[in-house]
Amino acid sequence: MAQLAAVIGTGQTRYKTKRGDVSIAGLLREAAVNALEDAGLGFEDIDAVVIGKAPDMFEGVVMPECYLADALGANGKPMLRVHTAGSVGGSTALVAASHVQSGTFKRVLTVTYEKQSESNAMWALSTPQPFAVHLNAGAGGYFAPIIREYMRRSKAPWDVGIKVAVKDRLHGARNPLAHLHKPDITMKEVEESMMLWDPLRLLEACPSSDGACAMVIAAEDAVDSSAKPPAWIRGGAMRSEPTMYAGREEVNPRAGRDCAADVYAQAGIRDPRRDLDVAEIYVPFSWYEPMWLENLGFAEEGQGWRLTMEGATSLDEGGDIPWNPSGGVLSSNPIGASGMIRFAEAARQVRGDAGAHQVEGAKLAMGHAYGGGAQFFSMWIVGADKP
């Protein structure tokens, strides 16, 4: 039986296009210091450090985990780097949590980041392969045909993606850390933004951000240092599957369904829409909200878009299951950190610490991340109540 663990501190940087005022090390340290302060601890209280980021090519810096050890106070302590593509922010949190749940460490600091301004992540993702033509045009180019297939199957109205793009930016306008602040955004503005990868427009895609996110995860007998209540980890799961195999369900990947079933079982969740108060879900392209509503069991297959259009996922429309009150990946995307931001924002919600984007009385929240060709998934459920 695993031991109980809880988030006792979260720390983030402000997300923006370019953080020219800090180096990569400075960026991570900023988030780490914020998380330690929130936890009421110092670097000396930490037993181990777990970091994560997306591919090294994104900044051209290889093996950042080695040179970041001192900036993160890891000298003389175990330090580990995790990598699972875009889901890395989530899987890093889960690796850090398991360091505590296993009983090995009492307090673990975990930090993830991306400094997209230092290189070109879109084209670093799109390198030539020797057995294919070189036509890959970033993550949007990869996911657009899958979105097109979802639109065909579900017969969803054409503007569902536009609605998500507006909803998450209105949420982001409540969050002082969000990269995009667009309190006056309209459906028309999104519709008229440049088409990038038909059917995806510029404003239906995530921005390129610099930023870092950190958390302190502690064992049951070490949660009292923070002035705020702990966010108890009620379940955590990861799944992976191959990018391509004959008959692969790309719109509604099995790894996502299996991962959700696992994490719900751990947390005793039967109906996620009813049982959860809020969810922070990895939606880097607008249409992934209805697609993941179905994949994660918040709606029947083919019906996810109805929740979006009815406002069920919107804080501003008083929806019953707000998705991404922080503004989500559509408002801030420091890739390697984006998953951890979902996990940390879920923790902030159940700690009552989410400020202007707080979901009133949130007790149970989900954090979710996916990566690669929608083939790596990581999820957790955190709660205000001790299990």
Partner: protein, 173 residues
């Protein structure tokens, strides 16, 4: 001596990568056939699905693939995107269509360019055909096919996409 201190917020430090690709047995056969102007795949002895490009094992069953299958130059559009962004170093001008195509005889798609078409008329299930470079230019590359172009054939019903034999007919189980 006093100098104005400007913050240094960036210096150019380009990284260039060159890598040697060891193809292994299955991709070697695939690339050699391409050099002879043929598209080939490999059939999984477990699930009978045909993979292109063959990587030597079926990712679903986890077993080695050996049987080589010659595939058709005809294919079906499984899905596609119209891209409005230029690819660095690629002369192709936006907007261009990148399609997920399943060649007849295979059970999985690859991406390739769709051309000689009206972008707005491209659709899922559409039939297309490979346009090859002149034989003298063939190399160990998928680029031997310049692009695919629409074919005047009836659309493939969605449930049959990825399930056609090399003759373009539904494979009877």
């Amino acid at each position: 001596m006093s100098e104005a201190r400007e913050p240094v917020t960036g210096i150019e430090a380009p990284v260039y990568l060159q890598y040697q690709f060891t193809a292994g047995r299955a991709p070697s056969r695939f690339l050699s056939a391409l050099k002879q102007g043929r598209l080939t795949g490999q059939r999984c002895p477990g699930c009978s699905q045909v993979y292109i490009p063959p990587r030597g094992a079926c990712p679903a069953c986890g077993i080695a693939t050996e049987e080589e299958v010659t595939l058709s130059n005809k294919a079906t559009v499984q899905s596609f995107t119209i891209v409005y962004i230029p690819i660095p170093g690629n002369p192709i001008k936006p907007p261009y269509i990148v399609a997920n195509l399943v060649p007849d005889g295979a059970n999985i798609s690859f991406i390739h360019l769709l051309s000689e078409c009206v972008n707005e008329e491209v659709h899922i299930g559409q039939r297309v055909q490979a346009v090859w470079k002149p034989e003298a230019e063939w190399d160990y590359k998928m680029d031997n096919i310049i692009y695919y172009k629409p074919l005047d054939e009836p659309d493939v019903p969605v449930e049959l996409i990825g399930k056609l034999g090399v003759d373009g007919r539904e494979v009877q189980p």
